[in-house]
């Protein structure tokens, strides 16, 4: 089993990518220094009013960053920020005042509690019916609000005072500028962590599942678990915001923790832009400016009593207006522009370096040779799938041997794709078993099939929207990394090294498939043929034992098909077993070791290409039977009909 050799074109691209990496390495410490400088200087020049205002914006920023991680990254609609905000604030208040726990410890314990609550609620909801999360979290927020408002321990509606300022190793954050510094340093850290997560393995998985849940599962992403973790991470940040709030005001009462706050934060995030944490910072700032503007204007128009309702009215309408006109928000607009410029520049570099597309590998003797192994890697036994009265797959037995290419053919509607979905775990069979190696995996979720070494492509291109081609393929390598949420938020050496390793691996895969020059292009904007190839790359990036391909040739021209055939042979030589559905008979007859013919959901014939080609039954099935070839006269329906 030989590793494919690196070709000259690949070495040519390497330096170009390295310089951009160097730029990035210099850029990020620079950004941190600038951030710290601005944060230190601001309260010294801005005066008390603006410093106070900016501190409020800071705590809101934290809540908004938390929400961006849930709603922006993972596409889940949560109204929980206020609930976890309350957990942080009241947790800090109760622990510091009643138990004398040091502020920092109380802050971390509260955040831990928030995390646990989020986990306990998120895990079952995301597994069952994620789209009701919004109502569940709305109820959660209201429950915490009512408890705070009614419990004796929390001081009821009159609140709870006497909270000491936060003191860390003797340094007390007791003045406005110090509080500002604290708030915005924490915001900076959260922003940095959120940005890191966005670029990391975990962030990719989240954006992937938002883009295409089934494809993300096929890449081995445990969808409910990923959603739960980001929800819990967001709860942690919201709780920190609450603790800071308590230490700044030294007093907590229920009103700031109602549902209105969650809606407020949502407005910030929508206005600023859901795509990334910068949107949260921009949104929190803009909303505060708008609020100040309203408070300046409304009383003179409608009287002082109108301020609260007037603000809400404007916010509500703004929310709808932004969603209708600019759903990616202010940062989305700016970011899209900046991103386009950057990606275009990187793309230009790639174009210059890698003009030679699809380096057709010459077929070595090793690639061409057939591997006659009798080791079964994938077995389907009596597999049946019914949709209502339709038997899509009817009692099919199928085996896939190690290092073979098995082609599945049959007329449209014969049940090929359904069978593939059963083998990849995307559908659960009505009856029968799927065995991978020695392991019965029937009924398990799709991501576990991926963990057993099965990768697949889809019939209609199922790439992740909003991600570039390289990021799409990187999701394929998901299972070969193990850096989770927390380690990517605080990038350790190991995390960075892993990212580099996976990057290098998938760059190699993309090069082999002649896709390197498209790395920075938005995946869903590519041509059909390129999208299909990219999906193959994503699946190969999983380094599976078993590769299932659903019509990989659709949209490819003859040259590309030949190149794909060469790649598939090479994968076989490297130890993979392949099952492919394909309509291009020439391709099939060329590449397949065996052919499995399906008709009306049943196995019609299994054999070598030559045998299948010679079988008149198969020719009839595949070419279409003329209706003149007689059928038994008015025989009752062949399919069984439920009474």
């Amino acid at each position: 089993m030989s590793e494919p050799t690196t070709t000259p074109a690949a070495t040519a691209t390497a330096p170009a990518l390295d310089t951009s990496g160097l730029r990035k390495r210099l850029l990020s410490p620079l950004a941190i220094v600038v951030w710290l400088a601005v944060v230190i200087i601001f309260p010294l020049v801005a005066g008390d009013f603006y410093t106070g205002l900016a501190t409020t914006i800071g705590t809101n920023c934290l809540l908004a960053i938390g929400l961006v991680m849930v709603t922006g990254y993972a596409g889940q609609f949560s109204l929980a920020p206020a609930a976890f905000y309350a957990v942080g604030a009241y947790g800090t208040a109760l622990m510091t005042v009643n138990m004398g726990v040091p502020g920092l410890v109380a802050m971390l314990i509260s955040a831990g509690i928030a995390l646990a609550i989020a986990y306990a609620i998120g895990r079952p909801i995301f597994r069952l019916r994620g789209h009701f999360l919004a109502m569940g979290t709305l109820a959660l927020t209201e429950v915490f609000f009512l408890l705070a408002n009614n419990l004796e321990a929390t001081g009821g509606s009159s609140g709870f005072g006497g909270i000491p300022p936060l003191t860390v190793v003797g340094f007390s954050f007791d003045t406005l500028p110090k509080q500002f510094w604290l708030a915005w340093v924490v915001v900076g850290a959260a922003l940095w962590a959120a940005l890191r997560i966005g670029k990391s393995r975990e962030g990719r998985a989240l954006r992937a599942l938002r883009g295409h849940e089934a494809a993300a599962e096929a890449c081995g992403v445990n969808v409910p678990w990923s959603k739960t973790r980001i929800f819990a991470g967001s709860a942690f940040i919201s709780s920190l915001a609450g603790s800071l709030y308590a230490h700044f005001l030294l007093y907590v009462n229920p009103p700031p923790f109602g549902v209105e706050t969650s809606i407020n934060i949502l407005s910030m995030v929508v206005l600023g832009g859901l795509a990334g944490p910068w949107g949260a910072v921009i949104g929190a700032t803009l909303i505060e400016i708008i609020r100040q503007g309203i408070e300046g204007v409304l009383p003179s128009l409608f009287g002082a009593g109108s301020v609260g309702a007037g603000e809400s009215l404007v916010l509500g309408l703004l929310l709808v207006f932004i969603l209708v006109t600019r759903p990616d928000g202010v940062a989305g607009g700016v970011g899209a522009l900046a991103g386009r410029i950057r990606e275009a520049r990187e793309q230009a570099e790639l174009d210059a370096n890698d003009a030679a597309a699809f380096a057709t590998p010459s077929m070595s003797a090793q690639d061409a040779r057939k591997y006659e192994s009798d080791e079964v890697v994938l077995r389907a036994e009596n597999l049946t799938k019914r949709f209502g009265g339709v038997h899509a797959v009817d009692d099919v037995d199928l085996v896939l041997y190690r290092q073979e290419i098995l082609a599945m053919i049959g007329p449209n509607g014969a049940g090929k794709t359904t069978l593939l979905n059963l083998l990849s775990g995307n559908l659960v069979p009505t009856s029968g078993r799927v065995v991978v190696g020695e392991k019965d995996v029937t009924g398990r979720p799709a991501f576990q099939f991926a963990r057993h070494g099965i990768a697949r492509t889809f019939q209609t291109p199922s790439l992740f929207a909003g991600m570039n081609a390289r990021a799409n393929v990187l999701v394929g390598a998901h299972l070969r990394g193990d850096v989770g949420l927390s380690r990517s938020a605080l990038p350790t050496r190991a995390a960075l090294r892993e990212e580099q390793r996976l990057g290098a691996e998938i760059d190699e895969v993309m090069h082999q498939l002649g896709l390197s020059h498209l790395a920075r292009r938005e995946a869903t904007q590519l041509s059909l043929g390129q999208q299909k190839l990219l999906e193959v790359a994503r699946a190969v990036g999983q380094r599976p034992d078993i590769l299932l391909l659903d019509e990989p040739c659709a949209g490819l021209n003859r040259v590309e098909k030949d190149a794909l055939a060469a790649v598939l042979r090479r994968l076989r030589a490297a130890g993979m077993s392949l099952l492919l559905i394909e309509h291009d008979m020439q391709f099939v007859m060329n590449i397949a070791d065996r052919v499995h013919v399906l008709e009306f959901g049943k196995t019609l014939h299994v054999g070598t290409p030559a045998e299948v080609q010679a079988d008149p039954k198969v020719i009839d099935a595949y070419l279409g039977v003329d209706r003149a070839t007689e059928a038994p006269e008015d025989e009752e329906d062949e399919t069984d009909v439920p009474a």
């Binding site: 949709f387 209502g388 009265g389 339709v390 899509a392 007329p411 449209n412 509607g413 014969a414 049940g415 869903t524 904007q525 590519l526 041509s527 059909l528 019509e551 659709a554 949209g555 003859r558 309509h583 291009d584 008979m585 020439q586 009306f600 959901g601 080609q613 010679a614 008149p616 020719i619 595949y622 070419l623 279409g624 039977v625 003329d626 209706r627 003149a628 070839t629 059928a631 038994p632 025989e635 329906d637 062949e638 399919t639 069984d640 009909v641 439920p642």
Partner: protein, 261 residues
């Protein structure tokens, strides 16, 4: 004037060009078939004609009236009705409800039309109160055609009615289509089962990567070497093995002969 006249139709899906200047005509009382390999744009073409999809440019005229930009319900009311790929019946409604919905643009359709449907597909009458989703694929196809009949179409567009059906069932469905034509309904038929389609049709068009490659009568198409290659599902740039060619020729001759008789 043609009953249906499609001129220079373009359609894109994202960056993929699906239709690139398709023109075709269908005369009243004809059965016209569109054949071509997977991904040629056949389904898209029918969906654009029936206004499920909006054309990028080009025009569709139904009995002289330009319906390219008309609303979908107007197109249905004017008598251009699609029987979609995969049947798409309403699985949780009864067979009767499905049929009545077919006549939605005529406030449920008349008893007379319903009787016609039942005459053509007695099976549907037996199962009138059964949920559509519990029926077999062939019965669902009958229902899909029956549902379209309820809209009293001048021209019925059929997208792969033989999909996933056994030969016996395909025969039954195609017999029904012939009966429909005898009653005066014009048919535009997309089929992968090209032999069966050519056996039924008067004329045909060969569609490949979004444009019409060849068109003509069934006899002309059968003689066209391009069409034979399409039968094989190959991409049309390689030659058939002698064995394949002989099988095909036999099949095509039989199909043509049958349609002539």
């Amino acid at each position: 004037m043609f009953l249906l006249e499609v001129t220079d139709l373009y359609f894109r899906y994202g960056n993929a060009r699906v239709l690139e200047g398709v023109s075709l005509t269908v005369d009243e009382g004809e059965i016209v078939t569109i054949i071509g390999p997977n991904g040629a744009g056949k389904s898209t073409l029918l969906n654009v004609i029936s206004r499920s999809l909006r054309a990028r440019s080009g025009s569709v005229r139904l009995a002289g009236e330009d319906i390219t930009k008309a609303g979908q319900s107007h197109v249905v009311r004017s008598g251009c009705i699609l029987v979609p790929e995969g049947r798409q019946v309403f699985p949780t409604l009864t067979v009767l409800d499905n049929l009545l919905l077919g006549g939605y643009v005529h406030r449920g359709g008349s008893d007379e039309t319903l009787a016609r449907v039942y005459r053509l597909f007695p099976r549907l009458k037996q199962r009138a109160n059964q949920l559509a989703g519990t029926m077999s694929g062939g019965e669902q196809q009958m229902l899909a055609i029956g549902r379209a009949m309820m809209g009293r179409p001048k021209i019925m567009l059929l997208d792969e009615p033989s999909l996933g059906l056994s030969p016996q069932m395909v025969k039954r469905i195609f017999d029904a289509l012939e009966a429909l034509r005898a009653e005066g309904t014009t048919l535009l038929l997309v089929e992968q089962n090209a032999l069966a389609a050519l056996g039924l049709a008067d004329r045909g068009y060969l569609l490949q990567t979004g444009s019409v490659v060849t068109s003509g009568t069934v006899e002309e198409l059968s003689a066209d070497p391009n069409v034979k290659k399409v039968y094989l599902g190959a991409s049309g740039d390689e030659d058939l093995t002698p064995a394949e060619a002989s099988v095909l020729e036999r099949e095509v001759d039989a199909a043509v002969h049958d349609s002539g008789s």
